[in-house]
């Protein structure tokens, strides 16, 4: 804490001293222009949050659907899971984003469909797809960590496969995979910055635009980092709260 504070003080002081290096005026809340800049930057928060929440929600459902065949006793069905995971997680996010945003409409067109993809949904599809491969692996590990006897006991009281998952296995697995799932959510929040390259008006895009007009990358990107930091810290606090709640639930 002390180190962080002295570092901040050092940055601020050096900013006052030599205007060649630091120019905190661009984001100084005390001046009208500085305040305008800050508002412009922070207004990207809504888009970043919306993007991340929708993409993460899709990924959480898709990941489960991909994970389930991976737990099958039949090799052919497991192969579906392996194929998806190995391919999808090998594709870097940026090329995948370009492919979805610029490429998919062309694929649709060649199929005789005219479907346009706007930056918002282009980014969501890419983030959700890319992330789902990782979520699927988390689910698989989580479900496998639940003792086999649980599913067997569920079978002996007549539950079918989906009831066994829904009422017995997943409620227990979710508690264990909450921390890694939260990790993935934080990862999505940060990776949503890539949406800026296809013109999505989120945090990073706004910072880039402001840099172009203000020529003050260091200060603006510093504020950008702080914005992500705040977001991630809020998520962490939320997850810890959720964990405590679920943990107490298990102990009764």
């Amino acid at each position: 804490m002390r180190i962080v504070l002295s570092l901040a003080a050092l940055l601020a002081l050096s900013g006052c001293g030599s205007s060649d290096i630091w120019g905190w005026y661009v984001v100084n809340p005390m001046t009208a222009s500085g305040w305008t800049n800050i508002t412009f930057l922070v207004n990207g928060m809504g888009a970043t949050i919306l993007l991340s929440v929708i993409a993460a929600s899709i990924s959480i459902v898709l990941g489960l659907l991909v994970a389930l065949p991976g737990l099958s006793e039949r090799r052919g069905i497991r192969a579906i899971n392996r194929f998806y995971v190995e391919i999808v997680r090998a594709i870097p996010l940026l090329p995948m984003l370009f492919w979805v945003f610029y490429g998919l409409p062309i694929v649709f067109k060649s199929m005789g469909l005219s479907i346009q993809i706007d930056p918002f949904w282009g980014a969501i599809i890419t983030l959700a797809l890319s992330d789902s491969a990782f979520t699927a692996e988390i689910y698989r590990a989580g479900i496998q960590s639940i003792a086999k006897g649980q599913a067997e006991a569920a079978k002996t009281v007549g539950l079918n496969y989906f009831q066994t998952m829904r009422y017995v296995v997943l409620p227990q697995a979710i508690r264990r995979i909450l921390p890694p799932l939260a990790n993935q959510f934080i990862y999505i929040v940060k990776m949503s910055a890539f949406a800026s390259v296809i013109g999505m008006q989120e945090l990073t895009r706004r910072a880039n635009e402001l840099v172009v007009t203000e020529y003050r990358p260091l200060e603006i990107y510093t504020l950008l980092i702080v914005e992500y930091l705040v977001l991630v810290l809020i998520i962490s606090a939320g997850v810890r709260w959720l964990e405590r709640k679920m943990g107490s639930d298990e102990r009764g």
Binding site: A147, A154, V157, Q172, G252
Partner: protein, 246 residues
Amino acid sequence: MTQDAIEMIDVDKWFGDFQVLKGINLNVKPGDRVVICGPSGSGKSTVVRCINRLEAHQKGVIKIGGVVQDGSAAALEAIRSEVGMVFQQFNLFPHLSVMENLVLGPMKARGMTRKDAEERAMKYLERVRIPEQALKRPSQLSGGQQQRVAIARSLCMEPKVMLFDEPTSALDPEMISEVLDVIVELAEEGMTMVVVTHEMGFARKVADQMVFMDEGEIVETGTPEDFFNAPKSERTQTFLKQILQH
């Protein structure tokens, strides 16, 4: 002639290259109380797990209430509605209360209303003598209490046959009798049961057919008197000598 509750004809099973069951023949009539014993690794648990198809056998025929078990949905349905199972490790659902453990099957698999399911659950909790624990979590109960909850959970499905797979092997010694007492009561009420156990005193008391297994085979079967007093096979004699020594 009444239909056999369980019929196993020449059943073989392999785990990979290893043959765990070799030509198992077993008939259980309604009301029968069969106790299976034998050294660990002899395949006795596998027999029980094949009966309710937690494991699939590869050769031979298993019939439950006359229905041939071929892995079809209809055959599985026959098992799930007729056969209850109690595991060595209890396998209660730790995230649910005792009551929720008991009503899950009746409500989800049988479509009972919560009210009816809870009434039935209380009836069986009283039967295993722990109605006051209904709202607790399994982790708050002793091992013996947990196993009695597991027995009640099975009874809530009102099965015709109960399978017990070493029901007291995971228990502290002082809790064994409270679980065995419940099983003895069930036996006295006429429940058909197959019990895998090392508790020979219990076996003597409830069994009307003893089965001794070794290395995947049924070595000897007989009434408890014959089995304990005049075992025919040398392997049975050795086993009984070892297990009854202390």
